[in-house]
């Protein structure tokens, strides 16, 4: 499609830089649309899955079988009053959701939807992912501090401690993937797993997968690691003072992070957008949605972990496991030749 557009632009006499700008805008719009549509689906899915697990039907009244529930939610959020607390630091308060959303969207630049379908196939893909995931901490700290509210501040502090601790095992498990594929480029990682289930990285990297999945759930603040928000303790943590659309942007970005995390789990360990019969994009969605479902399943069946247990799990269990996995991966790569 890119080549076809380039031909069209040349026939109009446009320069290459103009073409690059237009392509960037188009790709950005496509990714944002993809994320928005996913959020619509996921809000309903989350409600239905939680309902199923709690033996209740979930939303049923809006539309057939409750299918239009998300639209009702979105309209409610849009029509709500936008409240900025009087003691808040307005500039930082307004910027925080934008930074959070930008960080969540930036991750999608390197995720491959299919063999050629990738926004920008960076040669530093894995490092880029590690770098971008660190940005959301900054947004959460901004939100928590600027709200001028002790729960928000406590939530932000917890979040910073949690995200900084869990970023280490997450990055270590990603490094092992880079070693397996011999490249930091995500399309190379997918290519290295081509040719049937036996080539998937999940088998040599089972330990790495467990570390990645646990640390990843903590990185995206999903239960049982949702301590930064913990309704029952912190009244929703860093987003206590946010309402209406600003809150919705945090919400949207969290779902974007959930989809990105599931897509990365599928790409790193389960062959990404490859599979028989169906086109790559279908396989991408099947694998991604499987991990989204697992994350929801975990959220609604496990209780929230305690703060000190959270830190112990991160530092005493996940980091040593990630280091062992790194050693094993080195051995594996050398022995494989």
């Amino acid at each position: 499609m890119s080549d076809w557009l380039w031909g069209l632009f040349q026939s109009w006499g446009w320069s290459e830089s103009a073409f690059n700008v237009v392509m960037g805008v188009i790709k950005g719009l496509l990714v944002t649309t993809f994320l928005a549509v996913n959020a619509l689906v996921l809000v309903l899915m989350e409600r239905k899955v939680s309902g199923r697990i709690q033996r209740r039907p979930g939303p049923l009244r809006t539309g057939p079988r409750g299918l239009l529930q998300t639209f009702a939610d979105a309209i409610k959020l849009l029509s709500k009053e936008d409240i900025v607390p009087s003691g808040a630091d307005v500039a930082v308060f307004v910027l925080a959701p934008m930074v959070f959303f930008a960080a969540a969207t930036a991750l999608w630049i390197v995720i491959p939807f299919g063999p050629q379908t990738i926004v920008q196939d960076l040669n530093i893909g894995l490092i880029y992912i590690s770098a971008v995931t660190g940005l959301s901490v900054l947004a959460i700290l901004m939100a928590g501090w600027s709200s001028n509210n002790k729960w928000s501040l406590l939530g932000a502090m917890r979040s910073a401690a949690q995200l900084v601790s869990y970023e280490i095992p997450l990055v270590l498990s990603i490094v092992a993937i880079g070693m397996m594929a011999g490249s930091l480029r995500l399309s190379d990682i997918v290519a290295a797993q081509q040719g049937g289930i036996t080539n998937w990285f999940i088998f040599p990297q089972i330990l790495g997968f467990l570390v990645f999945f646990t640390a990843g759930l903590a990185e995206i603040n999903r239960a049982p690691f949702d301590l930064p928000e913990a309704e029952s303790e912190l009244v929703a943590g860093y987003n206590t003072e946010y309402s209406g659309m600003r809150w919705a942007i945090f919400f949207l970005a969290e779902y974007a992070n959930l989809v990105a995390f599931s897509a990365l789990a599928a790409t790193f360990f389960f062959g990404g957008p490859t599979g028989p019969i169906f086109p790559p994009i279908v396989w991408f969605l099947i694998k991604t949605y499987f991990f989204i479902f697992v994350a929801m399943w975990i959220r609604w069946t496990l209780p929230r972990i305690r703060v000190d247990h959270l830190m112990n799990l991160g530092w005493y269990v996940l980091i040593p496991l990630a280091l062992i996995n790194l050693g094993w991966t080195g051995l594996y790569v050398v022995l494989r030749g």
Partner: protein
């Protein structure tokens, strides 16, 4: 003017303004956020110069880790001056303050600019590589062949710093327990 040059100029201009705001922002929290923004823009400058790896490392280390730790430190700090949301009162430029905040910064800045210009004029710049180069591979092999000793030394230094930080933190805890 091509796109990369325009992007470079825009990023550099905003970075200078943002760096100026770091030292002039009245609230320390804002100063820290401006600092993070400056680091981010510098990463952008690296990208326009074709150093993607350096840019990612810059965001990972400086924006993701250093700025976060600074913000965390400010939030944990007990000092009223740091915690307060009010702007810090500015002391008048006289006596030691004139020396400390007026003369020294000017001398330091002029000296730094002079050194940078000298480096720019004298240094033997490598010729830009042609075609697509895998910078990550180049950096990796350079680090583990030509520069392996400095690399390992830096690793040992970081390890020492890590152990030192733990020793300091543990000692503080013991003191508090004895005191209470």
């Amino acid at each position: 003017m091509d796109l990369a040059r325009m992007a470079f100029l825009a990023l550099a201009a905003v970075a200078v303004v943002s760096a100026f705001r770091v030292v002039t922002a009245p609230k320390i929290m804002h100063a820290a956020l401006w600092l993070g923004f400056t680091f981010f823009l510098v990463a952008g400058v690296f990208i326009t110069l074709g150093a993607e790896f350096l840019a990612a490392a810059q965001v990972l280390v400086y924006v993701g880790a250093v700025t976060t730790i600074i913000l965390f430190g400010i939030m944990l700090s007990q000092a009223a001056e740091v915690r307060s949301r009010e702007p810090v009162p500015v002391e008048p430029l006289e006596g030691t303050a004139l020396w400390r905040r007026g003369v020294l910064p000017v001398v330091g800045t002029v000296a730094f600019v002079a050194i940078m210009i000298m480096v720019y004029l004298r240094a033997p710049w490598p010729t830009p590589a042609t075609g697509a180069v895998d910078t990550v591979r180049l950096i990796g092999s350079a680090l583990f062949t030509t520069y392996v000793i400095p690399f390992e030394l830096a690793a040992v230094l970081l390890l020492i710093a890590l152990v030192g930080a733990i020793v300091l933190a543990v000692r503080d805890d013991d003191k508090e327990e004895q005191g209470s």
